[in-house]
């Protein structure tokens, strides 16, 4: 028997949703939006994509009905927690340039992120390193992050684009949550394992109902992420996780992939860890007030690296080299972690179907890893 785990029914999950809302959280989670499962406000279980799944491949995403009514029988869509903890457009301050007086926006309501997968939790850990744990922190991110409730869901299925197993970030969820659900389909309805990760999570589920989980329950529910692992469609080549030095800039593969890449920035938008932004000033007509916004940017845009009259990364190949080299290698020297969590979003949402696991495999061929640490690199 595990004191911090119980077996609950769908009605208990519905009640949990209402308790989270009554506790004052702004509750967001997966819901059907257009032809994909994106994230938005959740008012009740009726907003969840119950009985839906999706097919993903490089450059492909198709919503589909399931032949059962699993509540969480899908994987990850284009959204992640990033869009809520680190919004695409963030008002920073408003300046009156006449009096040079500055106003800051009010803090937002605490978020409840409902339905975070293993890769999503890993991505939050990465963004914590980047945005909250450096010399200068992004105070707005840190504020949202500290107050946000994290309700995780273990994956029972995997998409063909998933590779969290090879990145060590999923599909089983070990920690970093307030509450965690694992779902089993019993033939007619779902049953859930509910695990508690924090005192706040325990408070929310006090007297919720259900029964304490027995050892055989835990064993049965453990098979769910094992099933997802068995269906995982992709993997990061071995060696990439430990390596800190990017592949040689002279490798011909950069040009091959540069020719395919449209430099559209989809990959950086859907990536749950990409953090590049640009300050953007909006000047109000008449009043002459200036609002500074911080908006998501992408290293694939031509203007991104503009200096002294030209971009540092002029051709698309050099922009792809920056993105992949940063994400998988240089990120480690900067933040002590890989920038990739294995969610596969950049593969699915690439209109050219570029697959970074395939690219890095090709880049590794004929480019033996240098002895580490290479001179001048990899250390701070």
């Amino acid at each position: 028997m595990d004191a911090d785990a119980s077996v609950i029914a769908p009605t208990h999950v519905s009640e949990l949703i209402q308790r989270i809302r009554r506790a004052g959280f702004e509750l967001v989670g997966p819901r059907i939006s257009g032809k994909a499962i994106a994230w938005g406000p959740i008012e009740s279980e009726r907003d969840l994509p119950i009985g839906w799944t999706e097919t993903q491949e490089a450059g492909t995403y198709r919503l589909q009905r399931r032949d059962d009514d699993r509540w969480f029988g899908f994987t990850v869509g284009p959204d992640s927690a990033k869009r809520f903890l680190f919004p695409p457009v963030e008002p920073c301050f408003r300046l009156d340039p006449q009096r040079w007086s500055v106003e800051f926006p009010d803090p937002a309501r605490p978020l409840a992120l409902f339905g975070l997968r293993g890769c999503d939790l890993a991505a939050i850990r990465v963004q914590d390193r980047v945005l909250a744990e450096g010399t200068v922190a992004d105070a707005r991110y840190r504020e949202r992050r500290q107050t946000a409730l994290r309700v995780a869901v273990e994956c029972s299925d995997a998409a063909a684009t998933c590779f969290c197993d090879s990145m060590g970030t999923g599909p089983a969820v070990g920690g970093d949550f307030d509450l965690c659900l694992t779902e089993r389909w019993t033939g007619s309805e779902s049953t859930f394992l509910l695990r508690v990760g924090t005192a706040r999570g325990r408070e929310l589920i006090r007297d919720l109902g259900g029964r304490p989980a027995q050892a055989r329950d835990l064993e049965a529910f453990r098979r769910e992420p094992q099933r997802a692992r068995a269906h995982m469609g992709r993997s990061m080549p071995p060696g990439v996780l430990a390596r800190r030095v990017p592949p040689s800039p002279d490798h011909p593969r950069w040009n091959t992939v540069g020719d395919r890449c449209f430099a559209c920035g989809n990959c950086t938008s859907v990536c749950p860890t990409c953090f590049c932004t640009t300050p953007h000033d909006e000047t109000e007509f008449g009043s002459k007030g200036i609002e500074r916004l911080r908006v998501w940017d992408s290293c694939f845009s031509r203007d991104f690296s503009y200096v002294s009259g030209r971009p540092q990364w002029e051709d698309v190949a050099s922009r792809y080299r920056q993105w992949l080299g940063h994400k998988l290698f240089d990120w480690k020297a900067q933040f002590g972690t890989s920038g990739c969590v294995g969610c596969g979003r950049c593969i699915t949402w690439c209109p050219a179907g570029i697959d970074l696991t395939e690219e890095v495999r090709a880049l590794a061929a004929g480019d033996p890893a240098p002895a580490e640490p290479a001179p001048g690199f990899g250390g701070k």
């Binding site: 340039p97 450096g134 200068v136 105070a139 640009t278 300050p279 940017d297 991104f304 009259g309």
Partner: protein, 279 residues
Amino acid sequence: MSAQPFGSMVPRPTRVVDRVEVGPDLVDLTVEPEGPNAPPPFEPGQFDMLFVPGVGEVPISVSGHPDEPDRRVYTVRRVGSVTRALGALRRGDRLGVRGPFGRPWPLDLAVGKTLWLVAGGLGCAPIRPAILRTLAHRTRFRDVAILVGARSPEDLLYRAELARWRARSDVEVQATVDRASGNWQGPVGLVTELVDRLRRPDDGVIALLCGPEAMMRATARGLLRDGLSASSIFVSLERNMKCGVGLCGHCQLGPHFVCKDGPVFSIEDLGDRFLGGVS
């Protein structure tokens, strides 16, 4: 939680107190803080983000005297919309300043050693505070050489000052141009050639290089060939700094954020990637 979540993003108000055209499309702006909210003192080699309300923000090195922190001088070349707006400012106009940002020139490393300050073109601006501090504390260093290159005699920055420095007996000052014109009597050629002709002391040398990347690369390669260590050669890099604190991602160079890990780097920090011209 902080009442000012984006404190590092908020420009402080300053006023333009002096403005001098110093070359083709080049202007020296001197600003002083307005009110008590002054930008903190800067170290030679650091940069500020200059904000023209309604136009935008750009990173500009502080080129003034580091011992006069409340008088910030910026040498601005008019190339884009913000630098053109900066160039159009008049005495009394307001300018927003965020900073200073970045790691400064490591003058402390040069104490007791020979110090070479090598600049090309607009690279004179970020290195000028290092020259001013060196000359103000001249006895701390052994031999000091200031080598400056420009496209033409008209493009040479701070010409009057160069003449004053040259008049001192305790510092070697040389200037060269790519193209002679007018009554130019000095050498014609690259600044790297001036570096090649410097007398190599037996004890340590610290070399600070500032200018176009091709010039810094060529100079650094020459110095390495001559036996200087990669940890004693420093360069200042220019990138598309937007936030100044390593959060926006624009100024990345391999594992480095140029805004906070630089803009001053040793060649040892940058490694072969810089010497090979990979950005």
